[in-house]
Amino acid sequence: MKPAAFDYVRAESLDEALDVLRNEGGDARIIAGGQSLMPMLNMRLARPRILVDIMRLAELRRVEPRQGNIAVGAAVRQAELLEWPALDRDLTLLSLALPWTGHAQTRSRGTVCGSIAHADPSAEMPLALVALGGEVVLRSARKRRRVAAHDFFLGVMATDRNDDEMIEAVEFPATNGRRCAFREVARRHGDFAIVACAAVATERGVRLAVGGVADMPVAREFDILPASALDGALNAFAWDLDARDDFHATARYRRDLVRMIGHELIAEVTR
């Protein structure tokens, strides 16, 4: 199908983009790589009256360390982050999760922030942000504010972003030597996850985050536990996610995957 008609603004400065959002926010959508938004437009699940293209804004096209975090600007494509020289060392979890994000043909255009703005519950970038306890930097003509990942995602494709705001950057805490692991089960590599899990070592144990099951990625802290207690804790986590049956998998299969992959990843990062 084809998109419904819209005006198109090729923003030449961030202020221009923010002005459009201030004046017509509810009717406007930011387009960056378009790999989440374009399918929505083509299927007419979204019918914005204005698209604001931010890909010419050099100030949004940066990956940079910021006080222990790595900030990824709104115009940074997934393929570009994948090629960032310090990725393995400073964003280890992203180096594991990015190859699972869409396909080479969509990572080439899709942005990291765009996937987070779209907030699909089974997408990898929101999952990584939640697992690492990162933050979203939102910007409007009035102000800039920071929102913790777990407060940003509110439901299926629903976020804390207001109509007059755009994501300016997301910040992932740098790896800092902590061990990370990632695993995903999907029908076809690169398709949306049936279950995706990310684990990050913490001082007391592991933070395990799960995508594809609840309405948004969910993280939980696990202390280092004896095997039997860990079984129980993982089982409780799997049930708390409120898995549902759908076209791709049953709720029971999803709980099974959470328990199994959870075990594997926790072993991997606490070894």
Binding site: Y8, R10, G34, M38, T106, G190
Partner: protein, 173 residues
């Protein structure tokens, strides 16, 4: 600020297969439709129109891209290459295309232009791409005819040839 009104046509300039394009289109015009209906370059195919099948894959600024998920206005100033660029002016097949023919890597051919463009972009970046990388790129495409195995064989042979490993002249020399 450049605001382009929905119902009007706006100037768009980019390079298509090495030649300058200077035309006009509405903001909602997809790159697939622009290529096929405005330019008449029908080598780029349209399957699903929501990014799943890969038939529409072209090359934008050296990277593979879904033309159905790209607005024409987004490629302003870009370099776009399509399957039409792979054969020479006399219509002789390119190296990758010849390998596809030898290995029967296509039957109906619907998926082929997209797969060729993805592999072309892969080999341009990674001349040493191995089978795992080729298969990884192929996960971005659906082929309902071949079962993929002949596509992988053709791609591996083309890659070897590109590296000069099975090049007859090189062996003879």
């Amino acid at each position: 600020m450049t605001r382009m009104a929905a119902e009007q046509r706006h100037r768009i300039r980019f390079t298509l297969n090495g030649e300058a394009v200077d035309r006009a289109c509405e903001p909602r015009m997809l790159l697939t439709d622009f290529l096929r209906h405005e330019i008449g370059a029908t080598g780029t195919h349209v399957g699903c129109e929501h990014g799943v099948c890969g038939a529409c894959t072209v090359n934008v600024d050296g990277r593979p891209a879904r033309a159905c998920l790209t607005l024409t206005l987004q490629v302003e100033g870009s370099e776009v290459r399509t399957v039409e660029s792979l054969a020479d002016r006399q219509g002789r097949l390119g190296l990758l295309q010849s390998a596809f023919r030898r290995h029967h890597a296509l039957q109906c051919g619907f998926c082929t232009p997209g797969i060729l463009m993805s592999l072309d972009a892969l080999f341009a970046r990674r001349a040493n791409a191995d089978e795992a990388e080729i298969r990884d790129v192929l996960t971005g495409h659906l082929c309902r005819c071949t079962g993929y195995a002949p596509i992988v064989r053709a791609a591996l042979e083309a890659a070897a040839e590109l590296r000069g490993e099975t090049n007859r002249e090189a062996v003879d020399a």
